[in-house]
Symmetry: C2
Subunit: 256 residues, 2 copies
């Protein structure tokens, strides 16, 4: 099972990248689960035709109990991708990452992975602070690889550095490792050099280079990923290449 956590500063493009990766994996015939781990709860919206699904925390606030089945807090979206949103607690009250912890407990209780048998699981995780629930996907065997989405902007690289340090602080526990950086361009001055500098300083590889793309926004307005929109576009090829590379990566490690 390929289990990847996508981290990055809020607004940097995690959900865009993650939902397009999910769609691309599915397009290649893989069985996928995408779990949104951002209180914004809109990670999977473009796999669901623009219709947000009820987050786990919202369900629990409304019904004051855990859902009895995964169906109550999930939806099958584009290409058969199973979509889940953790949501978050009421602002200001309680740990912001609590929704992730509650959701992970629920998924274990309902034995989701055993029942659905995914080949790929993608976690889309807020990376402004890597603590509490936001650190959970790295720990406890949930993800084996972390991808850091960043632009060349100072604030985005600061968050990327924080995420990398957080993952490294768990290095001796067999938790997830940072597989690489996805440069999601904002078209600022010397963006390539700035991100390459950061990558080199931290011994990381830039495994994806996503241009600023009108196609992304166009299909987003239709509640779609670019994969659902048109797999022949150059931007769609970027995501398909990235998924193939991640699958090959996984197979190679399997042989070790």
């Amino acid at each position: 099972m390929l289990k990847i956590a996508v981290y990055g500063k809020g607004g940097i493009g995690k959900s865009t990248i993650t939902s397009n990766l999910s769609a691309a994996f599915s397009f290649l015939g893989k069985k996928v689960i995408q779990i949104g781990c951002d209180p914004k709860a809109d990670s999977t919206i473009n796999l669901l035709g623009g219709q947000p699904l009820l987050p786990v925390m919202n369900y629990m606030r409304e019904y004051e109990r855990y859902p009895a089945s995964i169906a109550e807090v999930s939806k099958i979206g584009y290409g058969g991708v199973l979509c889940i949103e953790t949501g978050g607690p009421t602002p200001g009250l309680g740990c912001a990452g609590r929704g992730i912890i509650a959701t992970f407990n629920l998924l274990e209780e309902l034995a989701l992975f055993k029942t659905f048998e995914p080949e790929v699981v993608l976690y889309d995780v807020l990376g402004d602070v890597v603590c509490g629930g936001f650190a959970a996907p790295i720990r406890e065997g949930y993800a084996s690889k972390v991808l850091i989405v960043t632009s060349g902007e100072k604030m985005s690289l600061y968050a990327a550095n924080n995420i990398n340090r957080a993952v490294n602080n768990f290095a001796d526990r067999g938790y997830a490792k940072v597989r690489g950086i996805i440069l999601n361009r904002r078209n600022i001055d010397h963006e390539t050099e700035k991100v390459q500098d950061f990558a080199v300083k931290n011994g990381l590889e830039i495994i994806g280079d996503i241009p600023r793309s009108r196609d992304i926004n166009h299909f987003e307005d239709e509640g779609k990923t670019v994969i659902e929109g048109n797999t022949d576009l150059p931007i769609s090829h970027k995501f398909l290449d990235l998924t193939r590379m991640l699958l090959a990566d996984e197979q190679q490690r399997g042989r070790l």
Copy 2:
């Protein structure tokens, strides 16, 4: 004592706004303390000639105890402003806001406010998640007013909404109230309308409108606020006007 907490999305300009407000209050003859509550720990850097000061959490990690005096974790900067940085825990390990809680405990133990007798206290607080230590400045009588710094960008307004909701969730406890919004421009399309829309929807006032300013960046490169750089600039007048308005506001409430 005028006690203000400045919140906003990471990178939106909180420290720029807060350090210029501190400098402006000091220029008007007020005694000021600025407390950086962002793990980035660079809130006060432009009041200190570009030299970052040792954060409280770093001190505690190094010496494994609380500082014995405030002097060990503070510095007098431009205009006599007392500068403090909370810092944060090691990434991934422990609540990201822990530095704020530790610092607040320290300040009480050392009776800082009694000794220094500030007329203005400014807290510069990360607003991407309002939980744990990041919610502390709102609670427990630390700040009486919250200013939300935002641009017209979707992600920034999302954070602003979250901050506003968090403050409102404490409405019945006599905690801090949101005084207003500071629009710190990013020059995106329809920025004024987007922020006005948000303000109207949430019953908030836009009390400051800060243009994108080369002067800010120019003096930042010299480790200065624009107030220290040149109080005759239009951008400096913006900050001086805002401080006068906040002081008048405070006086008016005092009469009630």
